[in-house]
């Protein structure tokens, strides 16, 4: 095993915003030590939980976002814990933190205070970055999707219906992607310079450039985007592409043109379902004629709507794709477990969970590449599972000292 982050030590101050960064560093082979409060990371308390029983070691969202990490529980409000963290940072490669700006300076743990370790890459992922008039506002993931522009482009074609922010902490994911860019570029630099640096990423900044055409469309043409059910937002109303099937699924019927092969296959399929209408008219054999009709008219689109309504979701997906038409069926995440394609690509990784008495198949990682090796390296840690080990072996504390800190509630 030789992941892209092999050999690195990461100290992660537990937070829900940055934990996906630490996960991907761990998946890439880094040793990630998560510093948690003694009552656990906020990421342990959100749920869903195993059998819905609230327990810091049973939160599935935590399991997913913390694969392969080690957990050290320290109360960093207390001086002895701050000293321990400072010692860990003195030998670490990367520090991840998402505290409110100014918090760590008060504890003597800001970049300036720990940069004696010249090689340290210190990455802050916060709601608004380290400066600016909105720096201290109260936010969560959905609030970012509102303020950052995602909601404004997502929802339903009915102008009276609320915009929608999707589930799954996608604003935090967008911020995490940029922190990973910064860290990886900093590592690239460090190979020659030997120097670390400070990285400041704002989730709001990341979201604000993440709305595809909306910003350029405004800046260049002064146009406002319409929300459209299940589709791209656009400056003009477009015919619906999210179409219901005979078996209560939805097909995303996105396609830009029909070449001869696609068109012939589509007509044969329409004939079978009896929905072809006038499309056998020879004039549509001309690609430019049918493309113009598809873009401006209703004839082809109506026939496609009827075709999909008369077909099942899987049939739509495979028949269209086999003909070079890029339609998709809207699946549930869990339905992907049954699909042979992903098994053929070796996508699932079994992670042992002794607590359950079995292994659970996790998604591998975003990229298939033997040299990068991004994949879960083990289950998420229990709260404080590695406190003793790290304090004893990494920092050389004696058993007595550890016992005293435990008794004082500084560590768990």
């Amino acid at each position: 095993m030789s992941g892209v982050y092999e050999g690195l030590t990461v100290i992660e101050l537990a937070d829900r915003r940055n934990q996906w960064v630490g996960k991907l560093l761990s998946d890439g082979g880094a040793r990630v030590i998560q510093i948690e409060p003694v009552n656990g990371s906020p990421g342990r308390w959100c749920g869903p939980f195993v059998q819905d029983k609230v327990d810091p070691n049973s939160c599935l969202d935590y399991w997913w976002n913390n694969t392969g990490k080690q957990s050290v529980a320290l109360d960093i409000e207390r001086k002895p814990a701050q000293d321990l963290l400072r010692k860990l940072l003195a030998r670490a490669d990367i520090f991840l933190e998402s505290t409110v700006p100014g918090t760590l300076a008060k504890l003597g743990l800001d970049y300036g205070a720990v940069a004696g370790n010249r090689a340290l890459i210190y990455a802050s992922l916060t709601d608004f970055g380290q400066d600016g008039p909105w720096r201290d506002l109260q936010m969560n993931d959905a609030a970012h999707l509102a303020l950052g522009g995602q909601m404004s482009s997502t929802g339903y074609s009915d102008v009276t219906v609320t915009p929608i922010g999707g589930q799954g902490h996608q604003a935090w994911h967008m911020g995490c992607a940029f922190v990973l860019h910064g860290i990886t570029v900093a590592l690239f630099d460090r190979l020659t310079s030997g120097e670390g640096q400070y990285i400041d990423v704002s989730i709001h900044d990341a979201c604000a450039i993440g709305t595809e055409g909306a910003v350029p469309q405004w800046m260049y043409y002064g146009e406002t985007m319409y929300r459209q059910t299940g589709m791209h937002a656009a400056p003009r109303r477009l015919p619906p592409l999210e179409l219901p099937t005979a078996d209560d699924m939805y097909v995303m019927a996105i396609n830009q043109a029909f070449n001869k092969r696609s068109w012939d296959a589509l007509l044969d399929w329409m004939d079978e379902k009896g929905v072809t209408g006038e499309l056998r008219d020879p004039k549509y054999q001309e690609e430019s004629v049918r493309t113009a009709e598809y873009r401006q008219g209703t004839l082809i689109r109506d026939a496609i709507r009827r075709l999909i309504a008369a077909s099942n979701g899987e049939e739509c997906f495979h028949r269209a794709q086999a003909s070079g038409i890029s339609w998709a069926v809207i699946r549930a995440a869990e339905e992907n477990y049954d699909i042979p394609h992903y098994k053929q690509r070796d996508y699932w990784r079994n992670v042992e969970h002794p607590q359950l008495g079995r292994a659970i198949p996790y998604p591998r990682g975003p990229f298939a590449c033997d040299e990068l090796q991004l994949e879960p390296r083990g289950r998420a840690p229990h709260l404080g599972e590695h406190t003793q080990q790290v304090l004893a072996h990494d920092l050389g504390l004696a058993a007595q000292e550890i016992a005293a800190l435990t008794a004082a509630g500084v560590i768990k």
Binding site: W45, G47, L60, D61, W64, G129, G132, W134, Q138, N140, A146, L147, G149, Q150, S152, T154, V159, T162, I164, G165, G166, Q170, H173, H181, V185, L187, F188, D189, L191, Q197, Y198, I199, D200, I209, V215, P216, W218, Y220, Y221, Y226, G230, H232, E242, P244, I254, I325, A332, A333, E334, E335, N336, P340, Q344, L356, I360, P363, F367, A368, E371, L372
Partner: protein, 440 residues
Amino acid sequence: MNPQKSPVTDNAAHQRKGVLSDIRVLDFTWKTVGPWAPRLLTHYGAEVIHVERVNGWDDHRYNAQRSIVTDTPDANQVQGGKKLYAAPYFNTLHHGKLAISLNPRSPEGLKLVERLITKCDAVVENFSAEVFPNWGLTWARIHELNPKIVYMSSSGFGHTGEWKGYRSFGPTAAAQSGLSLASGLPGQPPAGWGYSYLDVMGGWMGGLALIQGLLKVKKTGKGMYIDYSVTEGAMSMVGTYMLDFQVNGRRTRRPNFPPGNRAISPSLAPHNTYRCAGNDRVGQHWWVFIACETQAQFEALCALMGQPGLARDPKFATNEVRVKHQDELDAIIGRWTRARRRYDIMQKCQAAGIIAAVVQSAEDRVEYDPQLHHREVFPIINHPELGDFPYEGYPVKMSRTPAFVHGRAPTLAEHNQYVYGELLGMDAAEIAGLRERGVI
């Protein structure tokens, strides 16, 4: 527009500074999700050579109209496929890159591609899986040409497996991964992700893979192939739902999911969007998002609404009971927000420590958002013929090796002379010959 400094506008290699200044990328990407990945490298100084087919293929370049940004009418027009300055999304996706034209289907054109591969550190494409091999550019061949190269294919489903020939756009990958189904109101069709999320985030993750590949090569000197499936990338953004199914048997395809803008992990109330006074320019209502994650925030909200008694009402006194009665609670809050201005609500809530955020449009962010203005998220870049044009910037601030916005998007084939002349060392007659034969 933000009154900002104009960054360096010359895309030529000697003008670049940055941690990736010694890196050169051959970029065959088109549409949306592909071009993002190499563009991200330009912010660190990489020289990215965007290859466009001789007769043009990327419709993002051809959607130019009259722009409100410039008073020069010609600038807005498609002029014989040449000067395309005002194609907004092309300018965003390709800023800081060089551009060459090339016909890779001709034997001479393919030779040029192969010569360029020997001069580059990475090559990236987002064609269907059969295209590069059909040109003769298998990984074995690319690796033979340049053993230190990072080759990344970005595709909907990856380049192996029974769906490798299947085609995809961002919304296709979102639909297949489970992301689309995780967005919407309960009982309604999926709302999906209208930005469209994977056209953006899919490219950002692709950019990460490229940087990771370059890091690894710098350590080992060994090139690699990265088979990036955007759908698989998306599935790694819904992992919690995968585990909930494996452990609890709970499906995301269930009657009360997705929950609109409400929170279910953990359940919190209030946590929703509320209609405010006014509509946007196309008649869509204005909304503000409000959430209380603590009892103190809820009590502050009740006081702000002038209804302090609500916090003691048995239906709303604790989060647990609020969740049970959230339809009623949302209606109360909605009546309060309905007549009020959206930014005023946000300000007053935030001043009281309550989570509140206006549902901001692009106009709101570009023109009025003081935070984005302060952080210079939308820089102005000078164009030698048109003057200043606005762009979307890059949101990573680094102390030692700062990221930059290097310059505008290139015009069609703008850098043929630099790439074929300087880089490949061809003389004027050779280049003219290529042009006459339709190779470039």
